[in-house]
Amino acid sequence: MRYSIASLILVCLLCGLNAQSTIDIDRSADASRRVPIALKGFSGEVAEVLTFDLEIQGFVVVPEGESQMILKGDNQGRVSGELVEVQSGASILPPRAYKGAPMRHQAHAMADYIVEGVFPGQKGISTTKIAFKVDLGRNNEICVAEYDGHDPRKITNDNTLAFSPAWAPGGKKIYYTSYQLRNPDIYSHDLTTGERKVVARYSGSNLSPAVSPDGRRVAMVLSKGGSPDLYVAFADGTSLKRLTSTRAEESSPCWSPDGRTICFVSSRDGRPALFMIDVDGGEMRKVRTAGVLNATEPDWSPDGKTLVFTTQRGGGFELCSVPVSGGAVEVLVRGEDPSWAPNSRTVIFTRRGKTKRYLSLLDVQTKHVKDMSQLSGSCSQPTWAR
């Protein structure tokens, strides 16, 4: 990404000259309803970006006159706007104008400003990034893009199989499995320099890297011991420690936000199910997922509260959520392989279409889904930079 949010220079126009009122959004009544907002004065790409960003983060963009609040502004040369209460005309948030970055990025920044102003405590995700795998013929490459699928770039050009990209915290380094040396091995890939290092190149398969939230360790599934088991090591792959030694297959580790627990999948009991284990080792503890028969590909929300995962039933795949302590499962939408956004509210996942796989976004709270089918190629295994 050529321009970071830090390069945006915010200029506040008309600060303090307008009276501000607070909007009373009755969220206690039904947090699953999207909040209507109208846009006025925006055009082209800026209008598209604002609409996409707002609608995936809890709003629904409606025509003027159908909402309590309206974002009035323009994108003549720069994006500027003011969120206003329709009836009184009073300003809800101080107006803002942006400069110093492409218009698309200014629009993203404006969307974040509105989201964070209207939903205090909720982080905006409009300028975040994702990584995913794209199938190109017989092989795969790893790609990075904006969270909405814009500006996808391959970060590999190995013309071999590659799987399960996983970000290190900070968004500057990605881990993945690549078969470029004729074996599935785990690499770390520094996005600033392009430098790659072997993290795990043992006999058998080296799969499913997951970096701890503090960036110091990596969990992975290695079969060198005779069965795919969970291991953890320092982020460079040294000081390897085996955590499981079942005769069944383990897969898909993910970390608690405090870095002390790993949630993963094991088929120890016959069907794939979710388990927890302390990073220091010990017994694996099953996570109760009442209502589904199998569970794979979990991800732990950054706020620590919720696991999202895939279940397979009736020939199809569904995203589900369950509290981290286990319990009743909520089936969310059709899809698989979810990854949480930093806001612990949005999830990116994969859907299978007729001829290819594609990425989709889900707002868990409102169940609103946005498909990103404009990405060319069959895309899957998305992971959100956090």
Binding site: R153, T156, L161, F163, A168, P169, Q180, L181, R182, N183, P184, Y187, D190, G194, R196, K197, V198, V199, S203, G204, S205, L207, S208, D214, G215, S223, K224, G225, G226, S227, P228, Y231, A233, F234, D236, G237, T238, S239, L240, K241, R242, E249, G259, R260, V265, I277, V279, D280, G282, E283, M284, T296, E297, T310, Q312, G315, E336, D337, S380, Q381
Partner: protein, 247 residues
């Protein structure tokens, strides 16, 4: 043992417990003199440059050094109860071998902690010629979401084991595959589990574990791209690739 490199610019809200654990670990490592096996550090592999706009990025792939760090080195500062198995620690006495020349070569069996552990050598194909066709008729098929060997499939593995026991310089690579009716990560491990299952069967038939390798392709290399039950069944398989020494 590995170096702990402090990277303050990446530390984010590190809980005290894990800091203390790491400090305790470093202290224990320094004082315990854990010197038996020094793992070699990872060899940097030059990667594509950051500006991935141009497609023609070439980079030489250097063969990495063999990775020798082993979990059994790790015995300081962590709770070893429960989740940390080393396999059999004591080997019972074997039978003495009658050394008269019977015309049969005995295969020396390597002693490892876990008889099913994979051989260390990840570059097993060096100096070998690969033949993916010779054992096409011995492809082993599996039930949905299963990695166990069906009784009807076992005779095919026996054919491979007979060849291996008659050709002690040969190696075999077992490739594990899945149909697409599973999630991708899960399918990679299921494919590996299938390959390991066939490997275990071969070893139990008397083939030296050091000559049997596995690789999983998950659902990435289907035999049949159709979406029928027959196509799916054709993809749930393990294939054998024979490796013979280069002439």
């Amino acid at each position: 043992m590995g170096q702990v490199t402090a990277r303050p610019q990446e530390a984010m809200n590190m809980p005290k417990l894990s800091i203390l654990t790491l400090i305790g670990l470093v202290a224990l490592l320094v004082t315990s003199g854990c010197q038996s096996r020094q793992p070699k550090g990872p060899t940097p592999i030059p990667g594509p440059v950051a500006n991935v706009g141009d497609v023609d990025n070439e980079f030489p792939a250097l063969p990495p050094e063999e990775y020798t760090s082993d979990p059994s080195d790790f015995d300081g500062g962590f709770n070893n109860d429960g989740g940390f198995t080393r396999g059999n620690n004591s080997i019972p006495d074997g039978m003495p071998i009658d050394n008269t020349n019977t015309g049969i070569e005995f295969e020396p069996l390597d002693i490892t902690d876990d008889p099913m552990a994979l051989p260390d050598n990840v570059n097993y194909w060096e100096g070998m010629v690969m033949d993916a066709e010779i054992f096409e008729g011995q492809t082993v098929y599996f039930g949905f979401d299963m990695s166990s060997i069906d009784a009807f499939e076992a005779p095919k593995i026996e054919v491979v084991s007979e060849h291996m026991k008659s050709n002690l310089s040969h190696k075999v690579l077992i490739e594990g595959h899945c149909d697409e009716r599973g999630t991708e990560n899960y399918n990679l491990t299921l494919g590996e589990q299938r390959a390991l299952s066939v490997r275990e069967y071969l070893i139990n038939l008397g083939v030296n574990p050091d000559r049997v390798h596995t690789i999983s392709y998950g659902e990435a290399r289907p035999a049949d791209t159709g979406m029928t039950e027959e196509a799916y069944a054709a993809n749930r398989r393990c294939t054998f690739v024979l490796l013979t020494p280069e002439p």
